[in-house]
């Protein structure tokens, strides 16, 4: 299919041609008539959007940080002496003694690599220092680096300039003192310049970028689709139909290239970064003039030791006083009946940029046992739950379509054999078998998300296979297939180009329902404690965190999200089925 070319004046001519609606036109039209289905699609788009954009909505890393990392600077400054000491030790022992000593310990490292490692360590430290120092203040550091590296080179050449190394070490001590940062009182020392960094973006993977860009297109679809149809395609229906594939290609192409660009630029520079920016900012070890956090600056694993199982903060019972005691409600501490003492509590810690202790929005869906915010965990948990549904469905549809088309198209003994296999698999209680498999296979061997997806697919493909087989049996005797066969097309071409597209409707319906079933299965497994476990939660495993009635919010909110998703998928499946076959209409 080629991209439609827009010619001036051509539109009016095409307009007059009679337009016969094709299969997808009918489906879209039918769906467009159902407000409930549209609503379900919008809710699903928002749910998936919130999962995709979770790191941009809630994160403990800032988008932009303009700051002096005093901690890093001081570590680097103090490290200068350490590196020089190591170099002295290396040169003092010399190549033979060093390598012999290592061999005795069973290690296999050469003298040269050890020297190079010291060179690298020094460069790293100096680079950190330079980044915070104004450029006119680098001269001493440059001199020091040159001296250090020439000594390394001499060491590599086999010389042992011991006196010079000792002198260099004194020089390092001197540097350490001279480059002390200025204190607030304005005494002696260096004035450090701020460095701008993008911690959140740097931790974003290109896969995430792909979906983020893709979802911009999906969310804005009603807008750009209408614009393209009106302006570019002049509202001509045959052209709009012709452009469907081009639109798909454009959306995927743009998303994919964005991901690729990301992988080679920002994403490529990603380093292992465990810095707890908020802690450092709170304690003042990072001094920032600008730190832009996402709307919710809480990480999905960020714990608040002062607030375990805290109620949603819009409730009166959640009020906590300065020392960490609840003010009212059942959680107010009573003195111990024997000793008369009140157990100690940890006060609430309000970190950099967080809402204050009793703000309504502090934890508006409550917290879990470690004081992690439930809303943030729900956002990230959606990533697991929703992707399990989609992935398992993709896999089971693939298996089902392949086996179903083989059985339906080839027929004969193959069909009998495959049908028997389908019957056998169908007579296994699916949830029971998936539960057993997922519980038995240890997490170390396969990540549980993978196990769940695979076993759901392996047990549940039979429905799709039967559907596809039935459609193939029905379609393969029809004229257009016979014509294709008479035309001498290969079997593969007939299957993929002629029969399969016509059998796709029912498969689509089954897919919608099986996404819902997949999400239900995953959450049930996780709820039983056999599925997804820490640290990244899924909706089911969140419910499993506490079954006590007094922690009701942990059970209510994740469950509601599961219900909402499943409900929407059922609505969509039902809607598409009605659109394909109005006789089956149940709702609306």
């Amino acid at each position: 299919m080629t991209e439609p070319v827009v010619k001036a004046g051509g539109a009016a001519e095409v307009e007059r041609e009679p337009y016969s609606k094709d299969y997808w036109d009918n489906v879209f039209e039918q769906i467009g008539r159902r407000p409930l289905v549209k609503l379900a699609l919008v809710i699903l788009a928002i749910l998936y959007g919130s999962a995709i954009y979770a790191p941009l909505i809630a994160n403990d890393r800032p988008f932009v940080l303009e700051a002096v990392d005093k901690q890093a600077y001081d570590d680097a400054r103090r490290g200068l002496v350490g590196v020089t000491t190591s170099l002295r030790d290396l040169i003092e022992s010399g190549r033979e003694a060093y390598e012999a000593a290592l061999r005795e310990r069973g290690q296999d490292q050469t003298y040269a690599t050890a020297l190079e490692a010291e060179r690298g360590a020094l460069r790293l430290r100096l680079a950190t220092m330079r980044s915070y120092l104004p450029s006119n203040d680098h001269a001493d550091l440059d001199v020091f680096q040159r001296a250090f590296e020439s000594l390394v080179d001499e060491g590599l050449a086999g010389e042992r300039p011991l006196d010079e190394v000792v002198a260099l070490r004194d020089e390092a001590k001197d540097l350490r003192k001279r480059y002390e940062p200025a204190t607030e009182e304005g005494g002696e020392g260096r004035v450090l310049a701020e460095v701008r960094s993008y911690p959140l973006w740097e931790s974003t993977t290109s896969l995430e970028v792909f979906f983020m860009v893709l979802w911009v297109f999906v969310l804005a679809w009603p807008l750009w689709n209408r614009l393209v149809n009106r302006l570019l395609l002049r509202g001509v229906r045959t052209r709009i139909r012709g452009a469907r594939r081009a639109k798909f290609g454009l959306v995927f192409g743009v998303s994919l290239s964005a991901a690729l660009v990301w992988a080679f630029t920002i994403g490529g520079s990603m380093t292992f970064d465990v810095a707890t920016y908020k802690d450092l900012l709170t304690s003042g070890r990072i001094e920032a003039s600008k730190a832009v956090f996402p709307p919710l600056n809480l990480g999905f694993a960020e714990s608040h030791p002062g607030e375990p199982y805290r109620e949603p903060t819009w409730l009166d019972e959640s009020e906590i006083d300065e020392e960490g005691y609840y003010v009212r409600g059942p959680k107010v501490m009573q003195p111990d009946p024997l000793t008369g003492q009140i157990p100690k509590r940890r006060p609430v810690e309000v970190r950099y940029g967080e809402p204050e202790r009793n703000a309504t929005w502090r934890h508006f869906l409550g917290t879990d046992i470690l004081g992690r915010d439930l809303f943030v965990r729900l956002l990230y948990g959606g990533r697991i739950s929703l992707s399990v549904g989609i992935l398992s469905t993709l896999m089971l549809v693939f298996i089902g379509v392949v086996i179903g088309s083989i059985a339906g198209y080839v027929g004969g003994l193959t069909d009998i054999l495959l049908s028997r296999i389908i019957e056998i698999v169908q007579s296994i209680p699916a949830f029971f078998l998936i539960l057993t498999c997922v519980a038995i296979i240890p997490e170390k061997q396969l990540p549980p998300i993978f196990t769940i997806v695979v076993f759901i697919a392996l047990v549940r493909w039979t429905g799709v296979a039967r559907l596809v087989r039935g459609e193939f049996l029905k379609l393969k005797e029809q004229e257009f297939v016979l014509a294709a066969r008479a035309g001498g097309f290969s079997n593969a071409r007939i299957i993929f180009r002629h029969v399969l597209p016509n059998a796709l409707g029912p498969v689509l319906v089954a897919a919608a329902f099986s996404v819902a079933a997949g999400i239900l299965t995953e959450s049930s497994l996780s709820f039983l404690g056999f599925g997804i476990k820490y640290p990244i939660p899924s909706w089911g495993s969140l419910i499993n965190e506490s079954r006590a009635a007094e922690h009701w919010w942990i059970q209510v909110f994740p469950g509601f999200l599961i219900f909402l998703t499943v409900f929407c998928y059922n609505l969509v499946g039902e809607g598409v089925r009605d659109a394909l076959d109005p006789r089956m209409k149940v709702l609306g």
Partner: protein
């Protein structure tokens, strides 16, 4: 018909062999040795030394043939010959315990409590689960059929709309969440109307029969609702669409034209024919109920087969895992067969040859 049933029963054998092979090889190939779990947790508990712990592990493995190749373990499990050291003399045993395995009705013993036979325990658990499942099926049908008939006959009535939407919503509720929410609403934390855990009160043993029954009924309300709401939501939707199909048939018009009352037309002419698709759905409800028994029994702490399976998975009780999986598959296949037979019984047009 009889021939058909016999053939279907024979087909069960390869299916069950398939299931047992899959699960057996899975649990034995997956790392995580029950011998290690058991001996570290229980056998060394009484302050034994390292050496004796190793010895105990070794004894444990020998006793349950865990040190043998997989095929031998499987044959030992299926039976009928005992293949261990004290097994049948044909296979090098000393003959003190000749027979073993599924074929002689032996599901083995629990690891944790070696004197408890899995088969006995399973019967005790099934005595809880099967009545519960049957009760739920019964209730699902009893609720679904009237709702379905009403919605079909009074299409477009506000109550039809309400029930259709309500059942559609209900169908999407995850059963474990429904259980938790019901516990919150009706338990001590909410209205405090019903007990939310177990099947009996602690002092049930001393109750008079009437009080005992009442207590049991109170305990059953929530679990049975959780068991059955998804199936009756599904069933009544099917009932409605089946009934609508039938009502539009010619013979219903004829019946009306004859001047029969609406009641007779619906209950006598339409109902029987619209029951056919509903009956076959039994086959698809049963596996859902059996799978659901794990969740419901864990949520409501009911000592049935589902809970047994759940506990055994946590403790890696190989014999129990095998037994519960096989029983669940067996019940599912039986359910499918039953619904096929029922189908033929209600619809004389259907014949199995």
């Amino acid at each position: 018909m009889l021939q058909y049933v016999v053939r279907r029963l024979l087909w069960m054998i390869p299916t069950l062999i398939g299931v047992s092979l899959i699960v057996f090889s899975l649990i034995h190939l997956a790392p995580g040795d029950p011998a290690a779990v058991q001996s570290s947790g229980l056998l060394t508990g009484a302050g034994r030394s390292e050496g004796s712990a190793d010895q105990a592990t070794q004894k444990f493995r020998e006793r349950f043939l865990l040190d043998q190749p997989l095929w031998k373990q499987y044959l030992h499990y299926v039976g009928p010959f005992h293949l261990g050291k004290d097994g049948h003399p044909w296979f090098g045993g000393d003959g003190s315990d000749k027979w073993n395995g599924l074929l002689v009705g032996d599901f083995g013993n629990e690891f944790r409590r070696p004197t408890v036979e899995v088969a006995d325990e399973l019967v005790r658990r099934l005595e809880v689960t099967i009545p519960l499942a049957l009760l739920s099926v019964l209730i699902s049908y009893l609720v679904a059929i009237p709702i379905g008939i009403f919605s079909a006959v009074r299409r477009g009535h506000p109550l039809d709309l309400a029930s259709t939407v309500g059942l559609f919503v209900l169908y999407a509720v995850p059963s474990f969440w429904a259980g938790l929410m019901l516990q919150l609403a009706f338990g001590k934390s909410g209205l405090d109307w019903l007990p939310v855990i177990g099947l009996h009160d602690k002092d049930a043993a001393e109750m008079a029969t009437g009080a005992w029954l009442l207590d049991l009924l109170k305990h059953l309300v929530l679990p049975v609702f959780c068991y059955s709401y998804a199936s009756f939501a599904y069933l009544s939707r099917q009932m409605r669409s089946g009934m609508i199909d039938v009502i539009n048939q010619d013979y219903i018009r004829t019946a009306r034209a004859k001047g029969l009352s609406e009641k007779v037309v619906v209950l006598k002419h339409a109902l029987r024919n619209s029951m056919i698709p509903i009956l076959t759905l039994l086959a698809s409800i049963l596996p859902i109920l059996i799978g659901g028994s794990v969740i419901i029994e864990v949520v409501f702490d009911i000592p049935g087969m589902g809970k047994y399976a759940y506990e055994s998975l946590q403790l890696r009780e190989y014999n129990v895992i095998m037994a519960t999986t096989l029983i669940a598959s067996f019940m599912t296949i039986l359910g499918i067969l039953l619904s096929d037979v029922l189908y033929a019984l209600v619809d004389p047009r259907i014949r199995y040859d």
